[in-house]
Amino acid sequence: MELLDAFLPYLLPIVYAVAMISVFMGLCSYSVLAERKVCSWIQGRVGPNRTRVPLLGHIPILGNLLTGLGIFQPAADGLKFLFKEEIVPGHVNKFYYMLAPVLALAPALTTMVVLPFGRYVDADGITQPLVLANVDLGMLIILGISSLGVYGIVLAGWASNSKYPFLGGIRASAQMISYELAMGLALLPVFMWAATPGSDYGMSLFGAVQSQQTLWLFIWQPLSALIFLVALFAETNRLPFDMAESETDLVGGFHTEYGCFKFGLFFVAEYAHVIMGSALFVLLFLGGWNFLPGLADPWGESLIGTLLSIAWFTTKVFFMIFFFIWMRWTLPRFRYDQVMSLGWKILLPLAVGNLVFNTIIIALYDTFTR
């Protein structure tokens, strides 16, 4: 017992982390299902509706309903990836070829550490975030680590030693680097407004959410929100920016030479990035777990309040994931050079202009209100 007490401080974070990864991976696989279902609804189809598991799938009404909704489909998809034959083409560089999918997924899972997903009121009556590590540089960590995600794609393209993946990898790296600039610059005004000088939460996501208790930053900073959203689409490699995959001209893009579970990892990584991006957008611009603009913190101090805050946050995230899917099945794809010129010639100047504008406004505001 004493031993347990001694180890508990070390053990608990591990338990939390494992729990969070499990939930997150579950979300990833169900995002895949959501993509398939929403896509088929948009296109007037039915989508996966036949995967049935023993016992649960045969409960009279519920079983049919769940089967029809394709609830068991992610399990079938995952198992399929696991049981497929592991094919490694002869012309690849094996070490990097194997490393690439891991590198693609790891950053998305790592950023999760600093992602708050709800709030609770502690014994002292102070509102605290529900997060694995509440660091005051949360946003910087996310930007830093998520930009590592491109290495997985570039490495996949390079290690495949094949022309289509190579082109896909090159496009992905150029695109991601370009859009990170606009993304970072779009975020600066947000934090300039969210964090007053000298506060504890410089670049903290929790601070950003707390600052939106009365007014969501989406309404307050529409231009930042727009630039960030576009950059987010580019960063997650989703259509209309899926240059790295661009399946009509590059076959499969960077993952052309990948199969079975290695491809599955890329697949999950894409959705992990989508979920992370959605969560970020909700935290930064859609008020996180705050109820609605103008209604300050209706969730009580009790446990139920905490759960409600988590539920409300998740609802918003689901809406954003839906938005990602909706866009994908509505819009055509950009051409690679158009993506670059959009990033450098439109988004970047806009972001810089927005930053300068907000700096001036903040300076004036400070001068006149002090």
Binding site: G44, R171, P240, T248, L331, P332, F334, R335, D337
Partner: protein, 413 residues
């Protein structure tokens, strides 16, 4: 096509790629696209030299779907070749059936009754709607808009159900015979065709909303793959691809057949000949075809669906064969020796969805063609590829190929 490669690749380094030539140095990358590749819609192969993302030269390689249809035709009777015409432009088999039957009838100087003509007009126009629906949908998919493809393909499935009612097959229809069609239209079929026409227009409007003024789609297509009038004529382009360049040539108007002169329809003509114009042409042609179908059904003639006086060409009714000696002999002769077509040469081309599909037939009399040559519009439309593609980005190729709307079954034959 390959014979002109050298000459063309020198002339084509102009335009967009000339700016790059001075800036970029180093090796070009050879990239092989196809024969099995998502963008080639079949088995087209493109050998390309890439400078970065810009295509420097493109050498199309054809023939992966070559079946020797023209030679096959020499070894079978005229009617037996009808199923082979299904496999030319397999997205509009009915139109091929009609074009082939009309070529042979022109050689035999055979007039088909009005009702047969009306049925064939319906076949041609429904085939055009079917082909263009797929053309627009796949084009959208090439540009990345999958949903458009699903919308148009759903309509096409309804059309296939109509084809199935009419011909017994959804895909390979084999509907025409020399001197008529295989069977009369089923009861109530015309009503169902009208119903389909009513349903397809809202879908077109939907596609219109998704694509026509879509900023991304316009960025991808306006000014891309532009063909000049002179080039279009020099390379023998036909169909929507030609009309997109601003040349008003539609065989239904210019050399009316099947009584097309009776219908009131417009031939859309483009201005710039780029990928966007080609998309607009197809979308508008569907609407015009629907209008033709409605007019045709409005005044659908009564009468026979085959040329009754052509005793040596069109096989008699089965019921009569079993009861009458003369018909039995007639049936036996046509089945064993084929329709008796007089000696001579003929060339006939019809305005098919993809362009002018021509048949050149040499007959020495009897039931088998001495020589049959097919002019496939897809083949001629594709011949401009090595002129058209250099200077464009790799991603543009999907859009250019999609906008040319070719079918390799007809190209390679």
């Amino acid at each position: 096509m390959a014979t002109t490669t050298k000459e063309v690749s020198i002339g084509d380094l102009g335009a967009r790629s000339s700016a790059h030539e001075t800036e970029l140095q180093g090796e070009t990358m050879a990239l092989n696209v196809g024969p099995s590749h998502p963008t080639t819609h079949g088995v087209l192969r493109l050998k390309m030299q890439l400078d970065g993302d810009v295509v420097k030269s493109c050498d199309p390689v054809l023939g992966y779907l070559h079946r020797g249809d023209e030679k096959i035709a020499e070894n079978m009777t005229y009617n037996q070749f009808v199923p082979y015409t299904d496999r030319l432009d397999y997205l509009a088999p009915l139109a091929n059936n009609v074009a082939y039957a009309m070529a042979v009838e022109k050689l035999a100087k055979l007039e088909v009754p009005e009702r047969c003509e009306a049925i064939r007009v319906l076949c041609c126009e429904l085939a055009r709607v079917s082909s263009h629906l797929l053309g627009v949908g796949v084009y959208g998919m090439d540009a990345g808009a999958w949903t458009v493809f699903m919308y148009t393909f759903t309509e096409r499935e309804k059309l296939y159900t109509l084809f199935e009612e009419l011909t017994g097959a959804r895909f390979t229809t084999s509907y025409t015979r020399i001197g008529g069609v295989a069977r009369d239209i089923p009861d109530g079929w015309l009503g169902r065709v009208l119903e389909f026409c009513k349903g397809v227009l809202p879908v077109l409007d939907q596609v219109d909303k998704l694509l026509t003024r879509n900023r991304i789609f316009m960025d991808r297509t306006v000014g891309i793959g532009a063909i000049s009038k002179e080039d279009a004529i020099a390379y023998g382009l036909t169909g929507p691809n030609l009309r997109a360049c601003g040349i008003d040539l539609d065989l239904r108007k210019d050399k009316p057949y099947l009584g097309y002169e009776k219908f009131d329809f417009e031939v859309p003509v483009g201005t710039t000949g780029d990928c966007y114009d080609r998309y607009l042409m197809r979308a508008e042609e569907i609407r015009q075809s629907v209008s033709i179908i409605r007019q045709c059904i409005d005044q659908f003639p009564e009468g026979s669906y085959y040329a009754e006086d052509a005793k040596k060409i069109f096989a008699p009714q089965k019921a009569k064969v079993l009861t009458s000696m003369e018909e039995l002999i007639q049936n036996f002769m046509i089945v064993t020796e084929g329709p008796q077509i007089p000696a001579g040469e003929v060339y006939f081309e019809a305005e098919n969805p993809k362009g002018a599909l021509g048949f050149f037939i040499v007959s020495k009399g009897g039931g088998v063609p001495y020589r049959l040559k097919i002019r496939g519009p897809s083949f001629c439309n594709l011949s401009i590829l090595d002129k058209l593609i250099p200077g464009h980005y790799l991603t543009d190729i999907t859009v250019i190929l999609g906008s040319l709307d070719f079918v390799m079954g007809e190209c390679d034959r």
